[in-house]
């Protein structure tokens, strides 16, 4: 058994089983599409934009062509990803729990010119996730125990000679779960939350430094609908929403079943029928999960349907948080919606065709950011052999 697992077993009064180690992302895969959005509530009979007369789709082609020679609106591109692994099973108090480990990578890249694409901020973290019951000193706070455990693990020669450091040891609920919830999922969820927290931290940092503003927007790959977290510095979106004044969330994959117009009826068919460079009206949504935060959400097609493999290929879902009271009341200024959409349209080339199956929906700067993060990971074999 590896020294790390031995050490953890000793400190948690547990017993490790030397189980088969594997990458959880490949093995614990639930066969669904990786939708990036969550369930949310449409605010009926209200609009996400000021132009309430817009009932059907709108062409943004002319605006996109007009502004192509201007400086782009989007300067920063944020993406986060994680790789999780089940590295062992540990028996504590006659129950067996998985030990989950993970690598988190969150990068924000800046486009300084059409030829200069540099990393503006990057964080890579190595994380362990243990059941809460592994706290063998219940008289002290779990955070303190696991923090101390992390420091002790990092002193092991297995890690020091490789100059590898674990950033955190997180804990997941070890109470009995219903049949549908596995401990592995809980462990993975803690690592996912840590990744999201890191994303928020980077956005906050850019905002505080004044790097993102009305002329320098950030595209965040995926939804902005962060569920409230129990821990972390950026627990509740409502408290940090100001950071997202100049941030747009763009989802490549979205659940068509959640597409609704402002009367609450499904408009998935209208989205699928969107013409090239057209957008839908922006609607106002409120997510159950994130509390009292409103979003303007709309869709735009950036690739011709005849070049697409499926009805929703080439369509992006665009989200922006409504910050000010005026925005919450009346929606986003339609000119702003048009400008954001036109800039997104102009980001459609070049493409990562041949490198990524999602090429039709993948914006190239986001793809570069994603590639950058992946290049920084330790290989699966390298990581698993730490344990």
């Amino acid at each position: 058994m590896s020294k790390i697992l031995e050490f953890i077993a000793e400190k948690t009064n547990g017993k490790c089983y030397q189980s088969f180690r594997y990458c959880a992302d490949d093995e614990i895969r639930i066969p669904t599409l990786d939708y990036e959005d969550q369930k949310f509530t449409l605010v009926k009979n209200s609009y996400g934009e000021t132009d309430t007369g817009l009932k059907t789709t709108k062409s943004i082609d002319n605006i996109a062509k007009r502004i192509i020679n201007d400086a782009p609106l989007f300067h920063f591109f944020l993406d986060g990803s994680r790789r999780t692994y089940k590295v062992d099973d540990i028996e504590i108090n006659r129950n067996v729990y998985p030990i989950i480990a993970g690598q988190i990578g969150v990068a924000c890249c800046e486009r300084k010119s059409s030829d200069q694409f540099k990393c503006a901020d990057f964080e890579r973290k190595l994380i362990l996730s243990l059941p809460k019951i592994a706290n063998s000193e219940p008289n002290i706070k779990p955070e303190l125990f696991f923090n101390k455990l992390k420091e002790d693990v990092n002193k092991l020669s297995t890690l020091t000679k490789r100059e590898i450091v674990f950033d955190k040891i997180l804990s997941y609920a070890s109470t009995k779960q219903d049949d549908n919830t596995k401990y592995e999922h809980l462990g993975i969820a803690t690592i996912q939350d840590e990744m999201i927290d890191t994303e928020k931290k980077i956005v906050a940092s850019l905002y505080d430094k004044g790097l993102i503003n009305a002329n320098r927007f950030l595209i965040k790959d995926g939804s902005l609908q962060y569920k409230p977290m129990k821990t972390g510095d950026f627990k509740e979106l409502i408290k940090i929403k100001n950071h997202y004044k100049s941030v747009v969330g763009i989802s490549k994959m979205f659940n068509p079943e959640l597409c609704r117009d402002n009367t609450g009826k499904s408009n998935a068919d209208k989205i699928a029928e969107l013409r090239l460079f057209h957008r839908t009206p922006a609607y106002k949504y409120q997510s159950e999960m994130v509390g009292n935060v409103n979003f303007a959400i709309w869709y735009v097609r950036i690739r011709a349907k005849e070049h697409s493999a499926s009805p929703f290929a080439g369509i992006l879902k665009v989200e922006k948080i409504l910050i000010t009271d005026e925005e919450i009341e009346n929606g986003l200024d339609s000119q702003e919606v048009d400008l954001i959409t036109a800039n997104i349209i102009n980001e459609r080339n070049p493409v990562c065709y041949g490198k990524d199956d999602r090429w039709a929906n993948h914006l190239y700067p986001v793809y570069l950011t994603e590639t950058y993060i992946k290049s920084k990971y330790l290989s699966d074999i390298n990581f698993l052999n730490l344990f």
């Binding site: 070049h307 080339n349 700067p365």
Partner: protein
Amino acid sequence: MKKIGKIIATEKVPTTLDEFFFWTDKKLIIKPFDVIKVAHLNDSVTFGVVEEISHLTDGASFLAGYISSDFGEIEEKSYTNRIGMNYIKARVVGNTKNIYTPVLDGSIVTLADAADVTKALGLDNIKNPLPCGIIEMYEGEDKIKIPVNFNSHFLIGPEGAHLNISGISGLASKTSYAMFLLKSIQQRYIKNVENESVAFVYLNVKGRDLLAIDEKNEELPEEDRKMYEELRIETKPFDNVKYFYPYSKDIKTTTYADVNDVKNQMELKKAFQYKYLFEDDKESLDLLFANIDDPTQTMESIVSFITSGEGTFGNVTNWQDLKDEIKKYQEKGDTGKDKTISVLSWRKFYRLFRKSLERNLFFSNALSKDGKEVRLQESIKQIQKNDVFVIDIAKLDEEAQGFVFGDVMRAI
């Protein structure tokens, strides 16, 4: 020095003893044969010479490129250019501490300064240096120029005497470079360095290329002038030049040179017309047939027969009589001729000789008394150190060129 990239060693393309790859910014201008250096083990430096430059992007296929232009729109614009870089293949030329293990992935690659390049290419410590040109490397503010020297003992002796100049035909650069080098040689030796001396014999084989080498170039560009200064070569033309033109009464029949130019040169006693006289030059008759196929050596036998005065050739005193005498030998019948050489051979010999005699006006009986006509052999035998003789054969036919060339070589 300026850092330009880093070494890449991959699973499929490792660095080796002989070569390595490194990436650079796609806008860096660097050329084949530029020298670069890499920090290596034990604080040593490995030098490399650029062999090939490739441009690489993350495009998966040509189709990706086409799709990225909105499925074939040439005017399509985008905010982001596809990420790309140049990678360069370089050949290892040396290491400062003789460490030849492959350079390591991630090592920084820099440009070299003039001293580094001189060392890397083995241009330092050249004995008997003779300026032979300048190497230019890099671009813009990084540009460097390194004077290059040959060891003159290996260029024109005594250790060796060979130079090979290769280049695309028609660019007039091979001849120009040869002339530049000869000028450099003359300048060095005209100062009587170390009691060594050189004389020059040029054969002009094309147009008027070499028929004005003692005239100053009034249009020498400033850039060229600077290069001469860097090499410490004077921008003067050749000294002590004499021109030798094949004889013809009107001059222009046998040379591409301007008639007036030739006359002026002759007035200045810089130019002469050369002739071949029977009594003195009959021994060179074999050179007329140097390019003729003679597997049974019958032409050679005839030449030998004639030059040794055998048969009736002992009484011949001029080229015309020689021709007439040969004519007799080509007739059939028993006329007391040598029976070892067949009539057919004589006929061939006569045909060829007659053609040469009629075409080439330099076969003559006597030289003029004004000193403007000479025999090449005599002139070459009187060549002095630092003399430059230019012998024009451009307008002669192939056999005559061979004849004159052979004669000159024999004289030398």
